[in-house]
Amino acid sequence: MALKTFIEAVRETLAEEMRRDEAVIVLGEDVGLKGGVFLATDGLYGEFGDDRVIDTPLSESLIVGASIGAAMNGLRPVAEIQFADFIHPAFNQLVSEAARMRYRSNNGFGVPMTVRAPYGGGVHGALYHSQSVEAFFAHVPGLKIVIPSTPYDAAGLLRSSIRDDDPVLFFEHKKMYRSVRGDVPAGDYVVPLGKAAITHPGTQITVIAYGLMAHYALEAADVVAEEGISVEVVDLRTLRPLDKETVLSSVRKTGKCLIVYEDNRFLGYGAELSAIIAEEAFDYLDGPVSRIAGPDVPGVPYNHVLEDWFMVNPEKIADGIRKLAAY
């Protein structure tokens, strides 16, 4: 098994999928010769040429809309939105079109398309290079939302996403691109969509997280373990469809649940999780379903003091765990 960074796992999986299936193309801004602003597509242009690795104009609605059309006519596009913050011009194409195509055509048309986008803060990206946008899209039936946290999952879930017959939004936390390493086995393995992972078994409190926060949750779990608090960490990996079974069985076991997300707290993904747990595991709860989430300001501020204030980190999560443990 090879140790790889998160972005190496993404890049090599893209290349393998393009070798495996010539219907797979990559399109987006700067994805060609430059290899993407984060180098997620580095080398693809040289290997596959400008037919299959397409530098688009700065037209996000086109990137998604043309991917929808190409998907309907036999291709499997993997679109890159340079930063998740720039996905909003494509909102209509994602929400009105990609998400609804199969349903509105009564299974006549499907959209086998993957849209990758780097998201998240903690990288001095300020308001428009730090956003977490998953809640906008997780709300919409017809879109699958994937947020991996390890190189192993990134490779396995990206394969599943590209091979899936429906549109998948694949969000990659940009702070993890080079800071997170992990074993990635050679070979054509997949991680199925819609399956969460228990990454740290425990008995007293369930902490649910995804993306970068799944790492911070593990760090916090180690910190509070020394204080005698046993935490079970659930890494969601896929936000929709949600693996309710894993979430609910963990909460029913521990009786307490803390949800961690970097997005703004109000109506963030954790709000729906909290509602589901309250509805379906109420009898098992020994404390309020709690959230540690980003403050409700319109963006991550630039100055490092302000950015540190905004970002959820292991210490803030550990504090949340302690409060809930004492309840």
Partner: protein
């Protein structure tokens, strides 16, 4: 731009002038007449309270049939819009498929009764399913053309929309990209002068949408939408150009809107009586009929026969649609994705029709409490 006249078997001088046969011209006429008659039937059914909503293509039919005509059925693609009845009929849909959509019955080819009428499309005929936010289909057609080019299928993709839709950003993004990559793509703007109530003078600073084509380095062609064969010639040239790999064309057909925007619109509020009266003079259907008769292609007897055929077809289609089954709520959560997902929660009231207590198969507790 005129297609060179060449002798074709079974072709009158008129048909030969555009490289078609008389059968082609009669076929085109039959589609235009069918589209008009099915459209008129829709309004009758709406006013009789049989169907809740109509959005109409009356006045557009000549341009629609002629511009779709040079495309190859079940090979090329069209992303239509909500007035595209004649376009869809030209590309393989039948009057019955239009009327089952009007009634939103389970057998509706376009959506199984899920979409509003007017949202025609089906995969078997390479007609892209459309939504209500306008001009989004632009980018789907561009993407289809991109796939056609990369896969070397020889396909052409056409999309069609009103001049109101032409002001959306997706049109700019799509034309720019299609032009850069010389995609086999055609944008047809059916300019009827109104975006619901807003006249073209408040939509565009210039009179013609086609003028924008030069900004993308592609041809922009203006045709009289009531001149059916003029529309055909422009479309044929655009299809040939696309097929040759020479890139996209913008065709602007100046058409008329003979009806209100929809059955929920009162157009006398913003169109004068004189303007509405004058529309009849510009109607493509009688004009094409006269053209075919003058050329000796259409006889009185054939005209009467076609009218009788069309009426019988639409009567049968109406009866069929009226009697067809409604969609079953048990299927209402199907096809969110290609496969079922246990994670998607059914409603507490299950899947019964009406009051919602019959035949549900979801979580029983809430419904049983209600009983």
């Amino acid at each position: 731009m005129a297609t060179k006249a060449k002798p074709v078997a079974g072709a009158s001088e008129l048909a030969a002038s555009v490289g078609l046969t008389d059968d082609d011209l009669i076929g085109m006429y039959r589609i235009i007449a069918t589209a008009r008659a099915v459209d008129e039937r829709m309004w009758v059914l709406n006013r009789a309270g049989r169907i809740p909503f109509v959005i109409s293509g009356q006045g557009h039919e000549g341009a629609q049939a002629a511009i779709a005509w040079p495309l190859e059925k079940r090979k090329d693609w069209i992303a239509p819009f909500y007035r595209s009845i004649a376009t869809c009929l030209t590309f393989g849909m039948q009057a019955r498929d239009i009327l089952t959509a009007q009634y939103a019955k389970a057998i509706d080819l376009s959506s199984g009764g899920r979409q509003m009428p007017g949202h025609y499309g089906n995969v078997a005929n390479n007609l892209v399913s459309l939504s209500s936010p306008v001009a989004t289909q632009m980018l789907h057609a561009v993407g289809i053309a991109l796939a056609a080019k990369l896969r070397k299928t020889g396909q052409v993709a056409l999309t069609t929309m009103g001049e109101g839709s032409s002001n959306q950003g997706d049109v700019h993004e799509g034309l720019n990209f299609a032009a850069i990559h010389k995609l086999p793509f055609i944008l047809c703007i059916e300019n009827n002068g109104y975006a619901i109530s807003v006249p073209v003078s408040k939509q565009l600073a210039l009179p013609d949408v086609a003028a924008r084509a030069s900004g993308y380095g592609i041809p922009g062609v203006i045709v009289d939408g009531a001149d059916v064969l003029g529309c055909y010639r422009a479309a044929k040239e655009a299809v040939d150009r696309a097929r040759r790999g020479d890139g996209p064309t913008l065709i602007e057909a100046k058409v008329i809107r003979l009806t209100a925007h929809s059955s929920d619109d009162q157009q006398t509020k913003y169109r004068s009586a004189e303007e509405l009266a004058d529309l009849q003079r510009q109607d493509p259907l009688p004009r094409f009929r006269k053209e075919l008769k003058d050329a000796g292609v259409l006889t009185d007897a054939l005209e009467a026969q076609i009218a009788a055929d069309v009426k019988a077809d639409i009567d049968a289609a109406t009866e069929y649609a009226e009697g067809a089954a409604d969609p079953d709520p048990r299927n209402a959560m199907k096809w969110v994705f290609a496969e079922d997902w246990p994670g998607e929660t059914p409603p507490t009231w299950g899947f019964g029709g009406g009051h919602g207590l019959e035949g549900h198969e979801g979580d029983h507790s809430a419904a049983e409490d209600a009983v």
